[in-house]
């Protein structure tokens, strides 16, 4: 009878999984950067004085939030080349993750902006600050601190969504573990390792975000 868990196999495939782990981390970090920037732009567009801009952004954000990530990933993967845009699978994946999470992040930004007391807007107006200056110097710095936990949650959540990119041939952790499994006909070890990688990194990320929160909380007091 076979061993239930082959530790030698674990040692052997560990180095093989590392490049895939890097891809996963790369996709997450790049995706989050896209999500944070695009999300902020979505949120700011919803404060635009132009009604059309406001409405259009609201519809786009709602559309993205109400459709599955996997569908969006496939859609971009097959549609972008048709528009003449030749991107690698990873870049497409990063864009899809970024766009999807930008929609969620924009709602978080909005909640943060709404949480700033109206007196801050009044004070900025009374000092005659321009609306751009009010947003960047007064409102956003105060809006960002309380939403850090929510944003870091989305970072972890996006990290855990990266296996979806295996659907469009990106060789990230899950895809690599399936390849290794099909070579050795043992799936337990590689999949367990993938689970442990995800768990470890998520925990580290959560701890870091808590520290960041504490840092800002202390600074405020």
């Amino acid at each position: 009878m076979q061993n239930l868990f082959d530790w030698n196999l674990v040692l052997r495939i560990f180095p093989l999984l590392l490049p895939a782990l890097c891809t996963t981390i790369e996709a997450t970090l790049l995706g989050m950067i896209v999500a944070l920037i695009l999300g902020l732009l979505f949120a700011l567009a919803r404060y635009s004085p132009a009604y059309a801009v406001k409405k259009f952004t609201a519809v786009v954000v709602e559309f993205i939030r109400r459709t599955p990530l996997l569908v969006q990933v496939y859609f971009l993967f097959y549609m972008l080349p048709a528009t003449g845009l030749q991107l690698s699978a990873l870049t497409t994946g990063v864009l899809a993750l970024g766009l999807h999470y930008a929609a969620y992040c924009s709602e978080v930004y909005r909640a943060g902006i709404e949480s700033v007391p109206s007196g801050q807007w009044d004070a900025a107006s009374a000092l005659n600050l321009s609306s751009a200056c009010t947003m960047y110097r007064v409102i956003l710095p105060q809006a960002l601190v309380p939403i850090l936990p929510a944003l870091s949650n989305y970072l972890i959540s996006m990290f855990k969504d990266t296996p979806i990119l295996s659907a469009i041939t990106v060789v990230e952790l899950l895809q690599e573990s399936k390849i290794l499994g099909s070579e050795s006909f043992r799936y337990t070890e590689p999949l367990t390792m993938v689970g442990i990688f995800f768990l470890t990194l998520s925990l580290i990320c959560a701890a870091l975000s808590r520290q960041l929160e504490n840092h800002f909380a202390l600074h405020r007091k």
Binding site: D122, S125, A126, L127, N128, C133, Q142, R220
Partner: protein, 258 residues
């Protein structure tokens, strides 16, 4: 007669179905100090917000320094805001809840507008900010964040912040109402010395009658969105011409004696 620096003509303000201000007519000459008194919910704060241009009246006209506050030009929203900012540059306001920027130090709070709006160099802005913090007696606290300051200190920073823009008109909206009683005196003293200099037009909403009597040239009593009483402090306080004013003043005295 000299052109008034503030002119309000038949100003109405409606929020939802409630009429907050019902036809305010008011002329205030430059450098006059005006105290506004009245029960809560009478529309005093709304009046101040309208004068700062934070809200727009439902109808009626507000003119500052001979120019209308709100213009609806064909060029649209941008022109309107540009004009409003031109008007606002003449006015400063201090709020009941201080509204300091919590992520800036006292100094940064005062420097922000001179740098961002007047485009002053950092050095010059800092010099000006220190000058005004000194005026309110807080130069030694200039590196403190608002959370580290007492209510009275916060309000003094807020006064310095508004003064640093050197407005022609200053609006003080119940600026001692959120303060502990022992901190009120310090803040009122600053206002007294400002009023004594007669450089600015000052409008203050206050519940301190002694203070109003000492430094206001004129007292307005507002009730239910209307100006009921408008005259010299002595006259309004000692011989009010309306029953409502009398009742309010009595309630105020009782409250203070308690």
């Amino acid at each position: 007669m000299q052109e008034p620096i503030i002119r309000m003509v038949k100003v109405f303000k409606k929020v939802g179905d409630t009429n907050i201000l019902k036809g305010i007519d008011l002329n205030i000459p430059a450098t006059e100090t005006v105290a506004v008194i009245g029960p809560s919910g009478s529309g005093k704060s709304t009046l101040m917000r309208l004068l700062m241009g934070l809200d727009r009246p439902t109808s009626g006209d507000i003119e500052i320094d001979g120019e209308p506050m709100w213009v609806d030009s064909a060029e649209g929203e941008k022109k309107k805001i540009e004009h409003l900012r031109h008007i606002r540059s003449k006015i400063g306001m201090v709020f009941q809840q201080f509204n300091l920027f919590p992520h800036f130090t006292a100094l940064q709070n005062v420097m922000e507008a001179p740098m961002q709006v007047l485009k002053m160099e950092r050095k010059a802005a800092q010099q000006r900010a220190e000058e005004y913090l000194e005026l309110v007696g807080l130069k030694d606290k200039m590196d403190a964040y608002p959370a580290k300051l007492s209510g009275g200190q916060k309000q003094r920073v807020a006064i310095a912040r508004a003064l640093a823009m050197r407005p022609k008109i200053m609006l003080f909206d119940e600026i001692t109402s959120a303060l502990d009683p022992e901190l009120v005196g310090g803040v009122l003293n600053i206002l007294k010395s400002l009023a004594a200099k007669c450089e600015m037009t000052m409008i203050l909403v206050t519940h301190h009658m002694n203070f109003a009597e000492q430094c206001a040239d004129r007292v307005l009593f507002i009730d239910q969105g209307e100006i009921i009483e408008d005259g010299k402090a002595v006259q309004v306080f000692r011989e009010p011409s309306h029953e409502r004013t009398r009742q309010f003043l009595e309630a105020l005295i009782e409250h203070h004696e308690q």
